[in-house]
C-alpha cells in the first residue's frame, strides 16, 4: 500500500477559522466603497474560500490527479460561460 499523507484535525480547525476570517474580510470590504474593484475582490475571496473547502474539507488534497482535474475543468467551463455572456452584453 502506498502511504498517503492524511489531513489531521488541526488542518480542519485552521481551515474553518480561515473561512470565517475570509468571510469577515469580505463583509468588511463590502462596507468600503471600492467601485468596480469591489465585486471582483468579493469573487476572488469567494474563490479562495471554495479552494479551501475543496482541498481540505473535500479531501482533494489527498485525491488523485484525475479527481483533482474535474473541479478545475468545471470551474473553467463556468468561467467561460459567465465571461462570454457578460462580455457579449457589455459589447452591445
Amino acid at each position: 500500500l502506498i502511504a498517503i499523507m492524511q489531513l489531521t484535525g488541526k488542518h480542519y480547525v485552521r481551515s474553518w477559522l480561515a473561512l470565517l476570517a475570509l468571510t469577515a474580510l469580505s463583509f468588511a470590504l463590502s462596507r468600503v466603497h471600492l467601485g468596480h474593484f469591489g465585486p471582483t475582490l468579493a469573487l476572488a475571496i469567494a474563490s479562495g474560500k471554495a479552494l479551501i473547502v475543496a482541498l481540505v474539507f473535500m479531501h482533494l488534497y489527498e485525491g488523485r490527479f484525475m479527481t483533482q482535474l474535474i473541479p478545475v475543468i468545471v470551474v473553467a467551463f463556468v468561467a467561460i460561460l459567465c465571461l462570454g455572456l457578460a462580455s457579449d452584453v457589455a459589447a452591445r
Partner: protein, 218 residues
C-alpha cells in the same frame, strides 16, 4: 473475530470487475466528483444569467442586492461554513475510530442545516410581505425596473435550487449518520459518509458564491 468479519464483508463488497477495494473506492469517488461537476453546471446556467443581467442592469442589481437582508445572508454563510467543518470533523472522528463523536458531529451539521433553512424562510417571508415575488408576480415598486424584477427572479431560482440541495444533503447525512450508529459505516469503511460529506461541501461551496452575488454585490 470482528476483524475477521470485516475482512469477509470487505471481500464481499468488492465487485468482480475491480482488482481491489482501493481501486473500487477510487472509481466511486471519481464518479461522485463527476456528479458534483454536473451539479455545478446546473447552477452555471443561473450564474451565466446573473452575469448577463448584471451587466445589462447594473444599477438595479446593486440597488436590489442592497435591499436584501445582509445580516441573515451573512449569518447563513457562517452557519453553512461551520456545518461544512462539522461534516469534515465527523469523517475525521470516524477515521480515528470514534463513531460516537462522528454521529454527534453529523447531528450538529443537521442542526446548522435546519437553522439555515429557518433563516432562509424568515427572509422569504419578509420578501413576500413586501411584494417581492418572482417573475410577473413582482409588485415592489421602490426599486428600479425591470432590473430589480430580474434580480429577484434569479434570487428565488438560485436560492430555492440551493435550498433543495440543502434538503437533499440533509437526507443523505441522516442516512449516513444512521449507518454509522448501526455500525455499517466504520473507521475502515466510511466511503458512504465521505460521499455524503462531498455533497454537503458542494452545497456550502455554491453558497460561498451566492452570498457575495446576492447580498454584498455592490
Amino acid at each position: 473475530m470482528a476483524s475477521h468479519d470485516e475482512a469477509v464483508s470487505d471481500e464481499h463488497l468488492v465487485r468482480d470487475w475491480f482488482e481491489d477495494r482501493a481501486k473500487q473506492e477510487h472509481a466511486v469517488r471519481f464518479g461522485m466528483w463527476l456528479f458534483l461537476g454536473s451539479e455545478t453546471l446546473l447552477f452555471a446556467g443561473l450564474f451565466g444569467l446573473y452575469a448577463t443581467y448584471r451587466v445589462a442592469h447594473t444599477e438595479a442589481f446593486l440597488a436590489a442586492s442592497h435591499h436584501n437582508n445582509v445580516a441573515i445572508g451573512t449569518i447563513n454563510t457562517v452557519v453553512l461554513i461551520t456545518s461544512s467543518f462539522t461534516v469534515a470533523w465527523a469523517i475525521h472522528a470516524l477515521r480515528e475510530n470514534r463513531p460516537k463523536a462522528a454521529v454527534r458531529s453529523i447531528g450538529w451539521t443537521l442542526l446548522f442545516a435546519t437553522a439555515f433553512l429557518v433563516l432562509k424562510g424568515i427572509e422569504y417571508t419578509q420578501h413576500f410581505h413586501e411584494g417581492i415575488l418572482p417573475g410577473y408576480h413582482y409588485r415592489f415598486a421602490e426599486l428600479p425596473q425591470p432590473g430589480a424584477r430580474l434580480f429577484f427572479t434569479l434570487y428565488y431560482f438560485m436560492t430555492a435550487l440551493h435550498a433543495l440541495h440543502v434538503i437533499g444533503g440533509m437526507v443523505f447525512l441522516v442516512v449516513a449518520g444512521h449507518m454509522v450508529r448501526r455500525g455499517r459505516i466504520t473507521a475502515r469503511r466510511y466511503l458512504t459518509l465521505e460521499l455524503a460529506g462531498l455533497y454537503w461541501h458542494l452545497v456550502d461551496a455554491i453558497w460561498i458564491f451566492l452570498w457575495p452575488l446576492l447580498y454584498i454585490a455592490g
